[in-house]
């Protein structure tokens, strides 16, 4: 860290990374403010990760804690894998935002409030007994009381704008302050404002004035003691863009369909936090995407199954409650052995649970959640950007192996975003689809490829391949209905074996660490960032801890057992009550597999993980 004098009074402090949290009313534009800050920082060259934290209600009553929307971003010059544990700077646009977000602020950090919003009525509505700016609530923080509303009003004087539009610009004032504080350029956001308000120049001017006013205000006041400099990260060369998990999922599916020369058919029913995949895919019908907003979750999956049966790539997207409804239909796709991709953007449960909060508790329903012996392939993405890769792989495996594939993401990945060095579709692994064949002039629907055990995919419209399939048990090879006892057992085992053999086509696990640690940390899915950061920090402190992260849940990578055998203690960390740990214990009995779980609708904190691992290293 270095300090320099600027203009004789302000200093610049260099930081490796910093966490900023914007919080305000749902209508205050906090998500936009946060994403603009993130985008500008990415252009500056920082690595970053974001985490929007918003309420389930679209517009809960103004000024209440229930209506507070937050956006956290961590930027840094080092590899950033999480949005950060605690905010170094919290921007609270009203008392309710302060009330619900102070818990996320680091003691000793900066808290910037809109002083104008701290009037008695708002303070009371937020549930404070007295004014938190005066009663010592903020004694541990460096508080900047900025009259953001009134200064925005002053800055926008003379423009033909109504009061509502003026007040909506105050988020830009706050953003301007942040740009000064972190030595960022206003240019990109100004460009964004110009394009967003192309048709209403007064609004464009108003937002830009507010942005600049905030910047100059921050420069002028004494309350901000120092500017911070976060130098650019050393990032792999290439062209980058921002991507959220849900967008990456949508694009990965599209890339796979394009590569396989299939239309992508999405049957989906709106559900938080998966709906954005439906929205995104609905925009790209020019690329052969067909989206149907179905009458319910069951019609969504069934229409996708129909589309796959007819020879296209059938996909359905949902979250836990919807996955529960789709179970029977997924079983049909297992029995009929046709490709199907089911995306489960996990959220807090059970039942309606915590719709906008993250959780990893659907691993059991994904692996086991159907009647009878119903094996499906299960994948899990682990960063917002790699939702692209795993959506692509889910589609590839579904089509090449003629099986349903369930892709698990979660609310944290879905809405989180990060810079992404995006690939060319030609760099993705090829999708090899073989045409259905006849034996001695006859097509047998259940004749299998000897390597993968996949059956042929003969599609309606192809002369000479007319055949009937369905949910009743099949006679091997012919696919005719069969109630024969030994045939049933053979078919059950064959379907299981087919899914197991997918392990021959997926990459091995890679251990982060030198392999001689006494403790192996195991994660899967969306907790990757926190786990990796915690383990890396401990490794830098010479602690003997290694890390593996699973993206392939069923089947498991082939080298899993060999890796596990090297450790005396394995701790599986997940945002549920230990579902993956149970699965691993049943696969590898006798190994010392422990569980660390958290079920709060929030991701792991790096600090809590480090404490857990250090505790495990003690004995």
């Amino acid at each position: 860290m270095s300090e320099t004098l600027v203009n004789g009074k302000k200093t610049t402090t260099e930081l490796e990374k910093v966490v900023i949290r914007f919080a305000g009313d749902s209508g205050d534009g906090m998500q936009l403010t946060g994403s603009q800050f993130s985008f500008t920082s990415a252009l500056w060259g920082n690595d970053l990760a974001t985490f929007p934290d918003f309420p389930a209600e679209i517009r809960a009553p103004q000024g209440t804690v229930e209506g507070v929307s937050g956006f956290q971003v961590q930027i840094g010059k080092i590899d950033i894998y999480t949005p950060g544990d605690q905010a170094d700077v919290l921007v609270a646009m009203n008392p309710a935002a302060l009330k619900s977000n102070l818990q996320f602020a680091r003691k000793g950090g900066n808290v910037i409030v809109d002083l104008d919003a701290f009037v008695d009525r708002n303070i009371e509505k937020a549930g404070f007994a007295s004014n938190p700016l005066e009663d010592g609530t903020l004694a541990d923080y460096n508080v900047v009381e900025a009259p953001i509303s009134s200064l925005t009003k002053t800055a926008l004087e003379g423009l033909q704008l109504d009061n509502k539009s003026i007040m909506r610009s105050k988020n830009m004032f706050a953003l301007g302050m942040m740009y000064w504080l972190f030595d960022r350029s206003l240019k990109e956001t100004e460009k964004y404002i110009d394009s967003k308000f192309k048709k209403t120049p007064a609004l464009a001017e108003g937002n830009k004035r507010a942005l600049n006013a905030g910047f100059h205000y921050a420069e002028t006041i004494e309350a901000l003691p120092s500017m911070y400099k976060i130098p650019p990260a050393i990032i792999e060369k290439g062209v980058y863009r921002h991507i959220s998990g849900n967008t990456a999922t949508a694009w990965g599916l599209m890339a796979a369909a394009e590569r396989a020369r299939k239309k992508l058919f999405l049957g989906s029913y709106p559900i938080t936090p998966a709906s954005d995949i439906l929205h995104e895919l609905s925009r790209h019908k020019n690329l052969g995407v067909i989206t149907m907003q179905a009458e319910d979750e069951i019609a969504a999956v069934c229409s996708a199954i129909g589309a796959s049966y007819a020879g296209q790539l059938g996909v359905t997207t949902s979250s836990g409650p919807g996955i529960a409804l789709k179970g029977e239909a997924i079983g049909l796709a297992i029995m009929a052995e046709i490709p199907l991709v089911v995306v489960d953007v996990q959220r807090g449960g059970p039942s309606t649970g915590l719709p906008t909060k993250t959780e990893q508790a659907d691993i059991n329903i994904a692996v086991f959640g159907r009647n009878s012996e119903s094996p499906a392939v299960v994948l899990a993405a682990s960063t917002p950007a790699n939702c692209f890769e795993f959506a692509y792989m889910a589609a590839k495996i579904a089509m090449e192996h003629m099986t349903p594939v369930i892709l698990l993401t979660d609310g944290y990945l879905a809405n989180g975003s990060e810079p992404w060095k995006f690939p060319k579709t030609a760099d993705m692994p090829p999708i090899n689809l073989e045409e259905a064949k006849k034996s001695n002039g006859v097509y047998y629907p259940y004749e299998r490829d000897t390597e993968k055990l996949a059956r042929g995919w003969a599609v309606p419209g192809t002369p000479g391949f007319e055949h009937r399939i369905g949910g009743l048990e099949k006679q091997e090879k012919t696919g005719n209905v069969s109630y024969d006892p030994t045939n049933h057992e053979k078919m059950v085992r064959t379907r299981a074996e087919k899914v197991e053999r997918v392990a021959n086509y997926i990459p091995d696990l890679e251990v982060q660490g030198n392999g001689d640690g006494k403790l192996l940390v195991v994660g899967w899915g969306g907790t990757f960032g926190g786990l990796r950061t915690a383990v890396t920090e401990l490794q830098h402190a010479n602690k003997k801890v290694d890390f593996v992260h699973f993206n392939y849940i069923n089947p498991l990578p082939k080298n899993t057992k060999a890796i596990f055998e090297k450790y005396n203690k394995i701790v599986v960390c997940e945002l549920n009550m230990g579902q993956f740990a149970s699965l691993l214990r049943s696969k590898f009995p006798g190994m010392n597999i422990l569980s660390y779980s958290k079920i709060q609708g929030q991701p792991f904190l790096v600090t809590e993980l480090k404490e857990v691992f250090i505790e495990h290293l003690k004995d």
Binding site: R241, N286, G306, A307, Y309, E328, L332, V459, G461, G471
Partner: protein, 342 residues
């Protein structure tokens, strides 16, 4: 794969019969429906490989196994949803969906009405025997109040659905009714339904010989045919009875049965059937007619043209594609804000 045949060959009934043993109960009405279907398909001039039969669960749902076409026997009630996916994935296919009354109107009621609302170009056959057969005799959503079944030992207390009311309530564009005892009419209606562009709903009054025998005897029995069947034809007066002496007249807002030459009634007083009328009011009144006061209307009761879901989707795609600024996923990845790290 074999080359596509350019000209559909002349098919016979045999070409559409599969090699599977038909396993409905002896005397089941489904046999005659199957036979009418294999008679109808050769008349359509559609290559056999373009036919797809989809079904849910139930006795009726075994239908696809007995057709030598593409077939998909799916899960209970979900046939229309699967069929919708099939049609959207490949609009050139002739998609048929076969349901029983429990499958279509109980567990699958939602998919049934939404297929009709979307007006996707598929043909739905509803085999209505007013009973659950495959599960061995429970009342169904079309069973009359009072019907004694295994699950209603004291008689059903529920009010039945009438399929036509649901079709019209869901803005259906095609509704026809036929009976399993009239193969000629069935074949005619299947052909008619296939030619309708939009969701065609054909209700077949079908007899379950085991659990609800003679459920439709009031209409189908030999002694009732003349007086209780009215074969409607677009543009024709609604006449029935022996020698076509009876007819349907619109009296105010009600239909009534009148007899020609009685009380000065002439053919001019008889309602002429207009199946193409957008307004479904008369179609609904005709479809609701039932013994003992009215004959049952059979034939194509409603047939109107409206844009289909598949047409709308194709039009939309064409329009979007014309104005598209990107043409591949690679284009899309590069679109919007990007930056380069050098």
């Amino acid at each position: 794969m074999e080359a596509l045949a350019d000209i559909p060959k002349a098919y016979t009934k045999k070409d559409f019969e599969s090699d599977q043993l038909v396993r409905w109960c002896p005397g089941c009405g489904d046999y005659s429906i199957l036979s009418a279907m294999t008679n109808a398909l050769p008349q359509l001039g559609i290559p056999r490989e373009n036919f797809v039969f989809v079904s849910g669960i139930g006795c009726a749902a075994r239908f696809p196994y007995y057709m030598n076409t593409y077939g998909f026997h799916t899960i209970h009630g979900r046939g229309p949803a699967v069929a919708t996916g099939v049609k959207l994935a490949n609009p050139k296919l002739s998609v048929w969906e076969v349901q029983g009354d429990g499958d279509a109107l109980a567990i699958g009621g939602n998919h049934f009405i939404h297929a009709l609302r979307r007006n996707i170009d598929i043909n739905i056959l509803l085999f209505n025997n007013e009973i659950y057969g495959l599960t061995k005799g429970q009342y169904s959503p079309t069973s009359p109040t009072g019907l004694v079944t295994k699950s209603t030992p004291y008689g059903s207390v529920e009010r039945p659905f009438h399929a036509a009311e649901l079709v019209i309530g869901a803005q259906g564009t095609f509704y026809a009714r036929t009976i399993d005892t009239n193969p000629k009419l069935m074949t005619e209606i299947f052909v008619h339904a296939a030619k309708h562009i939009g969701t065609s709903l054909v209700e077949v009054l079908q007899n379950c010989v085991i659990f609800n025998d003679d459920a439709h005897a009031g209409v189908t029995a030999k002694q009732n045919r003349d007086d209780f069947q009215l074969h409607v034809k677009h543009g024709q007066p609604l006449l029935f009875g022996k020698d076509n002496k009876k007819g349907i007249r619109l009296n105010g807002l009600k239909l009534e049965v009148v007899t020609l030459s009685e009380n000065g009634i002439t053919e001019k007083d008889i309602l002429v059937h207009d199946a193409n009328n957008e307004d479904p009011a008369l179609h609904l009144m005709l479809a609701r007619m039932a013994p003992p006061h009215f004959p049952m209307a059979l034939g194509v009761i409603r047939e109107v043209r409206a844009k289909t879901y598949d047409e709308a989707i194709a039009e939309e795609r064409e329009k979007i594609t014309e104005n598209a600024k990107y043409h591949s996923v690679d284009d899309l990845l590069k679109s919007g804000e990007t930056w380069e790290i050098k």
